[in-house]
Amino acid sequence: MMVSSSRKITPIFGAELDKLVTLPLIWRTFVATFIVNLALTAAFTSANLQGAIGTQSILATGLASMGYLQAGFIILGILATCSEYTGGQIRTTLTTIPWRGLQLSTKHLALAVVTIPMALILTGSGILYAFIMMRDTAAEMEIDTMIKTLLGATGYLTLTTLLSAAIGALFKRTTPALVVLLGYYFIVSPLAREYLPNIQYYFPDTAGSYMYMPLSSGEISSLSPLQGTGIILAWTLFFITAAIVCYRKRDA
């Protein structure tokens, strides 16, 4: 490479950020996820309102829809990379930024920057809603626990988005990437939890859930939040590396 990568990163990062924020599908996905998440949180809050006490109950209720909420972030990740293959944009991208490894890694970085505030808003709004609705029945809110849970949930959704983007880059097409990822998260993983209990903690979604899952008092967790973060981070880096290797080798 003739020019140092560090000098190239800033304009490439800016361009990748521009691509994401000017794509209406990204915002539509965010708004749709926000609305669905709030509706689900309202339903879970209503169901849990009777007999719920303490910070853990508020957090558990506020994040009860995480399983469904992650679908929106999976779609977000896939759209970020597969949109390159709509309208032949990939040709423009690669004739403007021909350094493929740098371009795809910078795209993931820009995606993380867009995803983090989105994830914070979505998880925060869920917890806030549950707090407002349950404050009369719940004990005093523990701010430390709430912040840790909020950051953990944001981190989990961000890593899930990046992993989905890498899968999208491998498939190049939205539909197969969506089928594989939603099939894994909503069919394969729940079944595996049932039938393969010994290895379930190594799956990205199960391990990642320990980043934010509030523990009931006395519950012994199988993974610490740090271990959960390490496992999902390893999966994410593995798929990003695989996507970059394929991207560099194959024809556009």
Binding site: M2, P11, D18, G87, G88, Q89, R91, L94, T95, T96
Partner: protein, 237 residues
């Protein structure tokens, strides 16, 4: 200077290009002709680093595309299709390209003006006609004011006014010393625009020379093209 040197491309068991060699020189418009499926687009894609050659080299000023220090200021490329996401506006499309190359936003407005797309720049690319899409592709190619233009079927979908504009524009750029390589299937149009001609057929170059040399004793470039691309036609001109 563009140099294609003995490029071979296999896709699966199929041989797409069989030792394609030619060059496009500064100050000249080089026309790249061939029937559908002859290997024109494959050659251009390899030149632009989009596809890998099985063997051989495609160089821009002596280096592969991916090793150019500033690709957009060196080569402007417009390939088939719009090259833009359908849901993004034309202006937003050009702005991310400009940002990647470190160009100011004012340059986007300049190229929109050059290609006559200013009024439609705020519309989504999906609403563009074929001709507008070609203009957007040209605008993207011109953003970096490059020394070299590589254009795949640039007049496809353009109205007569657009065709005249692009012919004049390309001639002026060549006159100022820039290198232009364009593929086209419109023989009459090409004959009025190009200085040099390369004809490719079944992945092999069957003619390479000045317009006069390739036309030879035939009455027109079109006649020469059909004579050269008919099965079992003669050797390279």
């Amino acid at each position: 200077m563009l140099t294609i040197n003995n490029v071979v491309k296999h896709r699966g068991n199929q041989k797409i290009l069989s030792g394609v060699s030619f060059s496009a020189r500064p100050g000249r418009v080089t026309g790249f002709l061939g029937p559908n499926g002859a290997g024109k687009s494959s050659t251009l894609r390899i030149l632009l680093g989009l596809d890998r050659a099985t063997s051989g080299s495609a160089l821009i000023d002596g280096v592969p595309f991916a090793e150019l220090k500033n690709p957009l200021a060196t080569v402007g490329a417009a390939l088939d299709g719009f090259g833009a996401h359908r849901m993004r506006t034309g202006r937003a499309h050009l702005r991310w390209i400009a940002r990647a190359a470190g160009l100011p936003r004012s340059r986007v407005e300049e190229v929109l003006e050059i290609v006559g797309l200013t009024n439609a720049a705020g519309k989504r690319v999906g609403t563009y006609s074929l001709g507008m899409g070609r203009r957007l592709g040209m605008a993207a190619a011109l953003l970096g004011d490059p020394e070299i233009l590589v254009l795949d079927e640039p007049v496809n979908g353009l109205d007569p006014e657009g065709i005249r504009w692009i012919r004049t524009f390309l001639r002026e750029r060549a006159a100022s010393g820039k290198t232009i390589l364009l593929s086209s299937h419109l023989m009459g149009e090409l004959a009025e625009t190009v200085d040099d001609v390369v004809i490719i057929h079944h992945g092999k170059v069957v003619a390479d020379g000045t317009l006069e040399e390739v036309t030879g004793t035939h009455s027109s470039l079109e006649e020469a093209f059909f004579a050269l691309t008919t099965e079992h036609a003669g050797a390279v001109v």
